[in-house]
Assembly symmetry: C2
Homo-oligomer: 434 residues x 2
Amino acid sequence: MRLTRYFLPVTKETPADAQIVSHQLMLRAGLIRQTAAGIYAWLPLGFRVLNRIEQIVREEQDRAGAIELLMPTIQSADLWRQSGRYDAYGPEMLRFPDRKGTEMLYGPTNEEMITQIFLGSVKSYRDLPRTLYHIQWKFRDEVRPRFGIMRGREFLMKDAYSFDLDEDGLKASYEAMFVAYLRTFARLGLQAVPVKAPTGPIGGDLSHEFHILAETGESAIFYDAALEDISRDELLSADAATIARLTSLYAMEEEEHAKVAECPVPAERLRSRRGIEVGHIFAFGTKYSASMGLSVQTADGTSLHPQMGSYGVGVSRLMGAIIEASHDSSGIVWPESVAPFRVGLINMRADDAKVTSAADDIYSRLQNAGVDTLYDDRDERGGAKFASMDLIGLPWQLIVGPRGLERGVVELKNRATGEREELSLESALARLTA
Amino acid sequence: MRLTRYFLPVTKETPADAQIVSHQLMLRAGLIRQTAAGIYAWLPLGFRVLNRIEQIVREEQDRAGAIELLMPTIQSADLWRQSGRYDAYGPEMLRFPDRKGTEMLYGPTNEEMITQIFLGSVKSYRDLPRTLYHIQWKFRDEVRPRFGIMRGREFLMKDAYSFDLDEDGLKASYEAMFVAYLRTFARLGLQAVPVKAPTGPIGGDLSHEFHILAETGESAIFYDAALEDISRDELLSADAATIARLTSLYAMEEEEHAKVAECPVPAERLRSRRGIEVGHIFAFGTKYSASMGLSVQTADGTSLHPQMGSYGVGVSRLMGAIIEASHDSSGIVWPESVAPFRVGLINMRADDAKVTSAADDIYSRLQNAGVDTLYDDRDERGGAKFASMDLIGLPWQLIVGPRGLERGVVELKNRATGEREELSLESALARLTA
């Protein structure tokens, strides 16, 4: 993409109302724009990152055998009355009448709806187990939206729902999602700590939250230092044994930790850091299947209420968490897996025909090789271009200038390490297309 | 995908409340499920088709140089007051206060928001022209939702917005979108007729609707028979000359046609068929840029209000239009470009180890070759499997049965033509992976 044809409104000023670094950087790097309190538009660069995060989440759901569908954003209040949650849910739920006065709501979650869909489709034990998921916009009418998209009102969430015949089945579905989450966060370049969670209003007896460790997290997490030793490779090849090991290690949110009479972790191994919650999984059994009358026939002709679980990931929130975990004083440092473009190509002298012709040629070659490239072809000073590229945080910068070209070299900069290298054009291309 | 692990609730019964064939087939083939009046969930098979349509729309927008972003579903009423449309818009707009009493709405379109975003980002003529688009859920509170997703309340739409320095620029942007639309509909396997439209409340002086000809269309279209002679190849390579030719041919909606004093088309060339509106483009000039105070600096230091246009495609509605245009008495006949799977593999005897082993092997080979395959591995009668496959309308059916296997052959059926052929397994695979 040529910057002269793109839409990338970056700014130098740090927005006064943005308190945390991810919010500041997302505004400055032209990723998002606020359109109302707690509501944001995803500008082209931010939209690309959102898509990449979403795609990794999707691939890991598919890999776990979950099946994607898409439920609507607007639901009827009557549906929520069937489970008894309509009155139980707080004012975070956006409720309104439609033009005929029918009570509607903007869905904050979909347990009722998926149970209703299942109810109309599945009659027999042979159709179980199934895990269904969707990635859809949700609304939570926060009284005090803040931290940009980290605690906005309209947000993108992946929510999955499992249906099993018995508790063993539910446990297996829960573990499959646990594995999917470990792999998802590892692929996003994040270190996520699974924390045993109280099950609260959703019910059931098994629940974990996944927290990204970052200074700006909402709550403190107390955990066994051994959790820090788990490698990315181990997470990427996670299985039931990995989960058993992980969940045997102590990790609690502040509030729950305070309730523990005697912490099982020796003081020298107990760590405390702040965490950003990016995922939450629940096994809640028959809470919805029983209240909404979902039954399936068993092999012996009797019927039962399926055992259910639900599994959420804050897709849009993950972008904030990634930035909180990966930035420096110059800007964002995207992990390769979610970077909006892999390479930022900088033409140092757009007013010099020779340099421009060389940079244009490199751009075509990168494009032909399928390397996502943002080409800064603007007629601007080099310094401004460097600052913008550092701010938007693409993994590689390829710098083409008149002095280098005379010597037959270009400069390749690694955004994460800051390392710069002079290379022949061919070597640089070989490196980036490898 | 194995059907024994999928979620595909097909039904034989024609739903009583579905009046048109696309609505009936979408319910019967397990593509959608109604969750409230005029609101639908997209079941896994329907979601796959929706994605394919969306992707073709996206590719043609990108090809036209439009840049994708994503605006939120919920907007503030104040934004719409700036353009004066808040009070002008009818009760189809879903309006509600949030928990603090701020007036909000579920966006039916985004002219105001994109103008606001542009206003905060672009100052100079050098940043024009630009066309931005998004593909997002919209809500239109229809008083009488009907025809399934064809006239539902929550629907997916692609809307693009162009910004130009002058009217010539606007004309070029308009033509680029016109070309994108012709290509999009041709790729979707549809014959679309561009109809000159009255500009109405959106203002401006240039507007076209794109109608798919189908018996169940909402309005009659009167047009020159010469429009039927335009080939798919011509549409796929459309340019300004194609548009000039197309728009020179008479095509009017009923109501506008009735106002024409003397129809320029000789009676023997005048056709009348019903049309489903799937796209609408407008050049409206400075209506929003002027009312919302969007100005850019020109090269000579003065400033001007950009000339704007907006360009909509009904993405979810297209699925209904495709089915209306492509079905038979047995079910849907998907064009290859949007089919949820390319091949339906039928195991005729899941209780026969030899047949199942052969079918399993074919399934792996199709998967390895990257052919999207839905594998009916259920232990059901062949007749029921045939009926389901015809209903869901995948382009190819590959049938593996005991008698054929003895002779070393499988059967390949083309859903559109109904043609069946016995082939060696290798020939069948070669055909499907070609």
